[in-house]
């Protein structure tokens, strides 16, 4: 193990780690926002409302993220309509392509988590809200969604960690995030073991910190107090 090389390249790896964090943060927040309507529609009683989110979730959970990333980054350029549109400056940029793909991908998983959480709410609580004269929408926003957020939070924290690891794929579309940076450094130093080891440590530290942060959030939202149903 050549420790000097690791220490020498740590600042560049840290630079890559910030890009990784940027990608993951945008994706999991935008994905959550997108997943809320999807998850609600997915748990609808009417089949025609369920069908569209079902198809969306089926596609994004059934295919690898790498395929989705290549479809967006390389695939969209096949259509002249896309190339001539106002979005082209963004869809040409690997950063925005990765953010878009990761968001769409994680939204499918979060929507599924949200559906499970919505279905896990005890029926009596929803009936109580309705009996108090709350409208359907009001019961959804004041009772069901806050309740589902607490039920689904542990699964959501898992999804965030999975997205952290999935962000390594951004290196395949030339982005210099943690893995991409490591590969660039290795191309210069020819020391794959040392540099990948250091990059792996970065991922471990980030996921450890994320786990701790979610533990705090769970305490703050009193998730355990809500478990006694």
């Amino acid at each position: 193990m050549n420790w000097e090389v690791i220490i020498k390249w740590l600042p560049r790896l840290a630079q890559g780690a910030t890009l990784t964090l940027e990608l993951v943060t945008i994706a999991v927040i935008a994905g959550l926002i997108l997943a809320i309507p999807l998850g609600i529609a997915r748990s609808s009683r009417h089949w025609y409302v369920r069908a569209l989110p079902f198809g969306y979730i089926f596609f994004f959970r059934g295919t690898p993220l790498l395929v989705q990333l290549f479809l967006v980054y390389y695939g969209l350029a096949q259509f002249d309509a896309v190339r001539n549109s106002a979005f082209w400056p963004y869809l040409r940029d690997p950063f925005w392509c990765t953010v878009l793909t990761m968001t769409l991908h994680t939204a499918a998983y979060i929507a599924e988590i949200l559906r499970g959480a919505l279905q896990a709410i005890p029926r009596g609580e929803i009936e109580a809200a309705r009996a108090l004269g709350m409208s359907r929408a009001k019961a959804l926003f004041y009772i069901m969604l806050p309740r589902a957020a607490r039920i689904g939070l542990p699964a959501y924290s898992n999804e965030v960690i999975l997205m952290l690891k999935a962000s390594a794929l951004a290196s395949t579309v030339t982005l210099l995030e943690l893995t991409g940076m490591a590969r660039t450094i290795i191309a210069r130093t020819y020391l794959p073991v040392e540099i990948f080891f250091a990059a792996g440590l970065f991922y471990l530290v980030i996921s450890f910190l994320l786990v701790q942060a979610f533990k705090q959030l769970e305490r703050w939202l009193r998730v355990d107090a809500c478990q006694g149903r």
Partner: protein
């Protein structure tokens, strides 16, 4: 959209076969690693517990792609030295072997947790009954614990296999000629990226559906003799 595969149909079929081979090989390695990990984690010996915990935490905390790259590029000098020692010049890990090891390692780390949960879900009395009958430790595990674990662990393992199958796409990064790699080659020739990546997506969807169907029947078979409480 023009569904003309430019004569790349057979190549994609070969890629699909390679993907399936890779997934099944990694599954075998992963199941063994997962079982060993779970045994280590539930063993009464502290060092073994630490080893199992270290394995599952370390592997799960690092991206799968990084494992693929690390095992493929990181073992070159190691294999060279091994080759010199064994007098085999040019000894190296090919992309398939590296892929199997990397994906098996990742599958094993998650499977460790699934198997551990299954071991813990088996009532203590069963093990004690085995002890009372004078069975050896190995026999208790293979005849009492393992057959019961299977039913509990199966849904979790099914999910992991689905993830594994999608992760096989990562091995295209080190040049293994599976679905993604063949699609990339087809794209460079045909200049139709969307078409070919969409075909790849459809193949993966088909494989996922196939795996889901298989899991449904295996779970049904494993659960025979057990009443479902919610039906």
């Amino acid at each position: 959209m023009n569904i003309d595969l430019y004569g790349f149909g057979p190549a994609l079929v070969a890629g699909t076969l390679m993907t399936v081979k890779l997934a099944l090989s990694a599954l075998c390695l992963g199941l063994v690693l997962g079982l060993l990990g779970a045994l280590a984690k539930t063993s009464p010996y502290k060092p073994l517990q630490w080893l199992g915990g270290f394995y599952s935490t370390l592997v799960r905390g690092v991206p799968e792609l990084l494992w693929v790259l690390l095992i493929y590029f990181g073992t070159v000098s190691l294999m060279n030295r091994l080759g010199e020692a064994l007098n085999i010049p040019g000894l190296e890990l090919n992309a398939f072997a590296a892929g199997v090891i990397a994906l098996g390692l990742c599958f094993g780390a998650y499977a460790t947790e699934v198997f551990r949960g299954a071991i813990l879900a088996i009532p203590k009395g069963h093990r004690e009954a085995g002890l009372a009958l004078g069975l050896s430790k190995g026999r208790i595990f293979s005849r009492l614990i393992l057959p019961q674990m299977w039913r509990i662990a199966l849904p979790g393992l099914g999910n992991l296999f689905m993830i594994l199958m999608k992760d096989t796409a990562l091995v295209s990064v080190i040049g293994l000629e599976e679905i993604m790699r063949h699609s990339q080659i087809a794209v460079t020739v045909s200049k139709q990226p969307f078409t070919f990546y969409m075909v790849a997506a459809v193949i993966y969807l088909g494989l996922t559906v196939l795996a889901m169907t298989g899991m449904y029947f295996m779970e049904k078979r494993a659960a025979r003799g057990f009443a479902r409480p919610n039906q």
